[in-house]
């Protein structure tokens, strides 16, 4: 994991003094953040702390009020015209979106399409792949998430865990450089969480995709993350490797949060 990350390389994601408010609610405050290519970053913190908003800004679902976001060496929400940054147009946003994929808490599959078409639709219509190639790749991905036997089902015929695995395959089919996972197990019944985390674990260990994972699964974060960010009130309170952050956090607010969410038995590794 960690050894594959080249921290000297220019970051694939960079937030510079990014602010985002919803009405009076200031969800991102002067946020600075850098993520190295291939890095697996877990974002933890109380609900409403702005973790999800970071992902939504990256997916171009929320426009920041100020600041600059860089993805893969280019500004995401701006484009350069004669050396000055101006607001990006749809054309620029569409080009940038090809670098980024996202999996949502509520799966958001297309209910009127069978599983296979959910996965092939974007490669065919956005990347211009021919149907046979797109289907071949979709079948590989569905096999990887353990759903080869469900290709002809509609999403409504699947369990939540299966739907989420289809959603992961659907996002992977676009071959993004950066994948965003927004509390992808939070809407699942407890017994289905494991199958989704297993897929995520496999991705984290076997691919060099950059992954940003918002999660409440602390044990999972500890296991897969190169770096864990503790988020509170729109700011990064503490950023460290999982070993440091979970066993020896320096910030008292981190300690308070971890004490609330982790099992009391500290010896439990």
């Amino acid at each position: 994991m960690s050894d594959s990350i080249d921290r000297k390389a220019s970051p694939i994601i960079r937030f510079e003094q990014v602010n985002k408010s919803f009405g009076h609610l200031h969800v991102l405050r002067d946020l600075d953040l850098e993520v190295a290519p291939g890095e697996k970053v877990c974002l933890i913190g109380p609900s409403g702390s702005g973790k999800t908003t970071i992902l939504r800004v990256l997916m171009t679902l929320e426009k920041p009020n100020s600041g600059v976001v860089w993805v893969d060496g280019e500004t995401l929400w701006h484009k350069e015209v004669k050396g000055r940054l101006v607001h990006a147009d749809e054309k620029h946003l569409r080009r940038m979106r090809n670098k980024i994929g996202m999996v949502f808490q509520q799966f958001n599959l297309f209910p009127h399409m069978k599983v296979l078409r959910n996965v092939t639709e974007a490669p065919i219509h956005v990347l211009g792949m021919d149907r046979a190639a797109a289907e071949e790749r979709a079948l590989q991905l569905l096999d990887m998430v353990g759903l080869s036997d469900k290709v002809d089902n509609y999403p409504a015929q699947l369990s939540g865990g299966q739907q989420q695995r289809v959603a992961i395959a659907r996002a992977l089919a676009m071959q993004p450089k950066v994948m965003l996972f927004d509390e992808i197990t939070a809407a699942l019944d407890p017994e289905l969480v494991g199958e989704v985390l297993n897929v995520l674990r496999k991705l984290a260990h076997e691919t060099d995709m950059t992954m940003l994972i918002v999660t409440h699964e602390m044990r999972f974060a500890r296991e897969v993350a190169d770096r864990v960010l503790f988020f509170e009130q729109g700011q990064i309170v503490e950023a460290a490797t999982p070993d440091v952050l979970f066993t020896n956090p320096t910030n008292p607010r981190t300690r308070l949060f971890l004490r609330a969410v982790l099992p009391q038995d500290k010896s439990d590794g």
Binding site: F110, E121, V126
Partner: protein, 219 residues
């Protein structure tokens, strides 16, 4: 006055050819209403006020004036400005335009019913706006709209009788012409009513079947 069954039987073929005109007018009118209604609904959602506001105004205006007035306007007023079209064409277009203001509301409600997460998933997969509409939003929005659209089709079928007022020889006008030639109105006008009833009722039954099927699919 008693019913002359033989007379009634003898005028039936003529009435049926009038019914054919009525059916043509309602079906072509409905096709116009279905397409134009969607165009209006999409235009009203436009981010540009220069598009959404005028279209919104037009829709409200057309919806709030009687169809008969619109028919007279297109048929009697426009020719004074050199715009002269056959009565059937004018009537069918006016009918379609009038009902497009209702169907546009059906589309609007149906489109609004699609969860915003479907739009977000489309953005995340980098679909173009067109692809999002054609591939994701409309295929989900339209099936639940079909019963409401079907009701408007039946409504248009009945309202198309107003085309008689601009000399379109549809079902009602046919009955009226027969009456004025034979001085018997009982049979032709009653038959006109029965034919309207029979088709409306059968369509309503078919529509209910469709509704049940759609409901079963969207359980």
């Amino acid at each position: 006055m008693t019913v002359d069954w033989k007379f009634a039987w003898s005028i039936l073929p003529e009435l049926l050819s009038g019914l054919l005109v009525t059916l043509k007018a309602s079906l072509v009118g409905f096709a116009i209403a279905a397409v134009l209604g969607l165009v209006f609904a999409l235009a009203r959602r436009s981010r540009s006020k220069w598009v959404s506001a005028p279209v919104g105004g037009l829709v409200e205006f057309v919806r709030s004036t009687p169809l008969l007035v619109q028919l007279f306007f297109f048929f009697y007023v426009l020719p004074q400005y050199g715009l002269r079209f056959p009565a059937f064409l004018v009537g069918t277009f006016a009918l379609g335009l009038h009902y497009s203001t209702y169907t546009s509301e059906v589309y609007r409600a149906g489109i609004d019913a699609i969860a915003k997460e479907q739009w977000e998933a489309s953005t995340a997969l980098n679909f173009s706006m067109t692809r999002t509409w054609v591939g994701v939003i409309l295929p989900q929005a339209i099936p639940p709209m079909l019963p409401a659209l079907g009701n408007y089709l039946i409504g248009m079928f009945k309202e198309s009788a107003q085309l008689a007022a601009i000399t379109v020889v549809e079902l009602l006008q046919t009955g009226k012409i027969i009456g004025s030639h034979t001085f018997r109105y009982l049979e032709p006008i009653t038959l006109v009513g029965i034919l309207f009833f029979a088709l409306s009722y059968l369509s309503a039954l078919a529509l209910r079947q469709l509704e049940v099927r759609i409901e079963r699919q969207h359980r």
